[in-house]
Amino acid sequence: MTRTGKFFGAVLLAIAQLAAAAGAQAAGLKLEKEQLKLGFIKLTDMAPLAIAYEKGYFEDEGLYVTLEPQANWKVILDRIITGELDGAHMLAGQPLGATIGFGTKADVITAFSLDLNGNATTVSNEVWALMKPALQVDAKGKVVRPIRAEALKPALDKFRAEGKPFRMAMVFPVSTHNFELRYWLAAGGINPGFYSPTDVSGQIRGDVLISVTPPPQMPATLEAGTINGYSVGEPWNQQAIAKGVGVPVITDFEIWRNNPEKVFGVTKAWAQKNPNTHLAVLKALIRAGMWLDANNGANRKEAAQILSRPEYVGADYRVIANSMTGTFEYTKGEKLPVPDFNVFFRYFANYPYYSDAVWYLTQMRRWGQIPEGKPDQWYQDVAKSVYRPDIYLQAAKLLVAEGKAKKEDFPWDSDGYRAPTKEFIDGIEYDGRKPNEYLAKMKIGLKGTEKVENGNVVAR
């Protein structure tokens, strides 16, 4: 190499180094808003928020975040819309429901799924006693799981004979819990009831009456006898065991393997006004998810300890640890391993898949929250306007560039649809690209152009 060549090379190297330095500089995003208030509900799946705060990930991004517990999901949605909260731990169905105008109408988006799984359904001791004789047991006398909803039938028959309604609770009309509970019941041949534009109770033609109760009040309401069972996130199923007021019968992992759970939601207007702040929050949340799932859950005990503080979930450590450390206590003393009960990062958990959004929309259609049939394209359009993997990948890219995340941990080339899956309790295949075909496979539920009118399902 000639002398000039060497010199030229050195200059090039220097320029490259300078560029790299500039790149590192750019990593410090120019934030539109530094002081944020994020809302959450006292559930263990708010963990990424608590961890991002406690481990200083928010501060690393230059964010001054206050986390505030909220009374119920309705309050969360309202306060997001009024701007009292910048962002929040939300039900996956909430941004979708708000966007299509079921309940409060508002443009809410999400670029981040907080976790997979994490819910369960619990019944009262009375119902459990009625179910138990009909349950299948293995050679060792252990109950065969998953328990199918058919097992509820003796209890339903007894209630009907006595003229008492069988009441179950979930946390919000468009919540995962509502859809999971309905899915489980319908898979067992029990009609969970329909919604219609004139009757939003969701109890039309229902064999069980399903209504809303805020998560932390579930055990107390069950104990009071107001409801006979509920579907809710943790720690409120383990709490029922700890308090001896009920028995969890099935986890959502058994209803749909690795189903998407809560999301981090913001309004569309907020995201447009604060794009860099949004990215910074996502970066912190991704790191929190990584921490939660690192080394096969080595940090979960510490996480459970943090969550048991009164300002976060506040339940006793042992109750939170039950589900957070990869086990689940079904009946007193019967603690079984469920390693994927809470997934915060593995399996690309945080990527907001369009197909997940479409699944929620199909369930809204199935039970009449979407009163009229819609073409497949409509499902895709709504999903793409609410779920924003583009923003998520942008945040991931920044983290990879900073060396804080590994490239292979993110699905860079996904088109936003998971591969078709049959991992449901009834084995029916779901393909996010064909929502109407999927709905047509369901025995109970609206399909095609069916409508609920005057308390009856009518075909048009």
């Binding site: 002081q35 006292k42 001054y64 009024t82 055990p219 107390a220 506040g314």
Partner: protein, 353 residues
């Protein structure tokens, strides 16, 4: 003068005997009564001992008895959150809350230090950068919650006073005004704060819109709910106080042809102050009770929210912590009442009339 039937809300002032025995600051007789008291002590200790027994001994015995019965009864009641906490559990949670407060203060100091470093680094990088001091982002401690509640109740109470005293004076001075206001007073007085709250919440979020609000919406909502519920005792007692001014005094004012304002400030107000203060004391008491309920329901920061959060937590310490809050609320309520009583005796002539 026909005032609302149940206008006489003038509850007899309950004064602990210790204070009743001590000479009031305004009593001119105090100076004269002191020497005989001292000589009495020299001669015979019995009355002193009796006073001491009545003022300190009886309450102390009652408290000990109460604690005993409490600790006995509580261990027998099993809830789904464990036993009802006894005095010992409540005391240990009080200590825990205090330790928690101190720990949080340390975290706050560390937070400010980190922020300073970060800002310094930022300035070093870019000297023109705009640095804004951010407030601590951690949770409010129990002590913070008490002060938030106090601020809110005073804001609501102040607003109520500003409205209620003039309205009360008008009602007291003119029978016409009184008759006009009476139906509203009767109608709204018994309304619970919980009924007002949703309306207030919606109104506040509709009307109180600003990019950078001076007060948090939750604060405004709570304060206005307090105002709406604590208006009435002041209105009614002020009206009664004004209406029951000695006719002779008013006649004299007429003879002297005093102007409206002179009459108001030299005669009407001073003469009705004792009852106005009775009303204010009742109002503050009502406001304090209302505040806790509204904080609980509207998720506004303060002691009410503390209780609600603990109830939702459902941990094995929750009941004891709620008990700490109950006792705190009672104690603060008592202190507020004493403070108002102090004000009352400062502002009224001749102690009570």
């Amino acid at each position: 003068m026909s005032l609302p039937g149940n206008a006489v809300m003038k509850e007899e002032v309950v004064v602990p005997s210790a204070e009743a025995a001590a000479p009031g600051p305004t009593a001119p007789a105090a100076a004269e009564s002191r020497p005989p008291a001292r000589s009495a002590k020299a001669r015979d200790l019995r009355p002193m001992v009796m006073t001491l027994w009545r003022s300190v001994g009886i309450p102390a015995v009652a408290i000990v008895l109460f604690l005993f019965i409490w600790s006995r009864l509580s261990s027998g009641i099993e809830t789904s959150l464990g036993n009802i906490p006894g005095p010992a559990a409540v005391w240990s949670q009080t200590q825990a809350l205090w330790a928690d407060h101190l720990a949080e203060r340390e975290k706050r100091a560390a937070f400010y230090q980190r922020q300073e470093q970060r800002n310094a680094a930022r300035l070093a990088e870019d000297p023109t950068a705009k640095i804004v001091e951010r407030k601590y982002t951690g949770k409010p401690t129990y002590i913070d919650q008490i002060f938030t509640s106090l601020q809110t109740v005073f804001a609501g109470f102040l607003l109520a006073t500003i409205i209620a005293v003039p309205v009360g004076i008008l009602c007291g001075l003119s029978k016409t005004v009184n008759r006009a206001f009476n139906p509203f007073i009767q109608l709204f007085k018994p309304v619970s704060p919980l009924a007002w709250l949703p309306i207030v919440t919606l109104l506040v979020s509709a009307l109180y819109v600003s990019e950078d609000p001076m007060f948090a919406k939750s604060f405004v909502t709570s304060a206005i709910t307090v105002t709406l519920c604590s208006l009435w005792p002041t209105v009614i007692n002020t009206a009664l106080g004004v209406a029951s001014i000695d006719r002779d005094l008013l006649n004299v004012a007429k003879v002297l042809q005093l102007g409206v304002f002179t009459r108001l400030f030299k005669l009407v107000l001073p003469a009705s102050l004792p009852l106005i203060f009775t009303g204010l004391r009742l109002s503050l008491g009502v406001g304090w009770m209302v505040l806790i309920a509204s904080e609980m329901l509207a998720q506004n920061p303060g002691l009410g929210k503390f209780i609600w959060d603990e109830f939702q937590n459902g941990s094995s310490n929750s009941l004891a912590r709620i008990m700490v809050a109950v006792l705190t609320i009672g104690f603060v309520g008592f202190l507020l009442d004493r403070a108002m009583y102090g004000l009352q005796s400062l502002f009224t002539f001749g102690a009570r009339r």
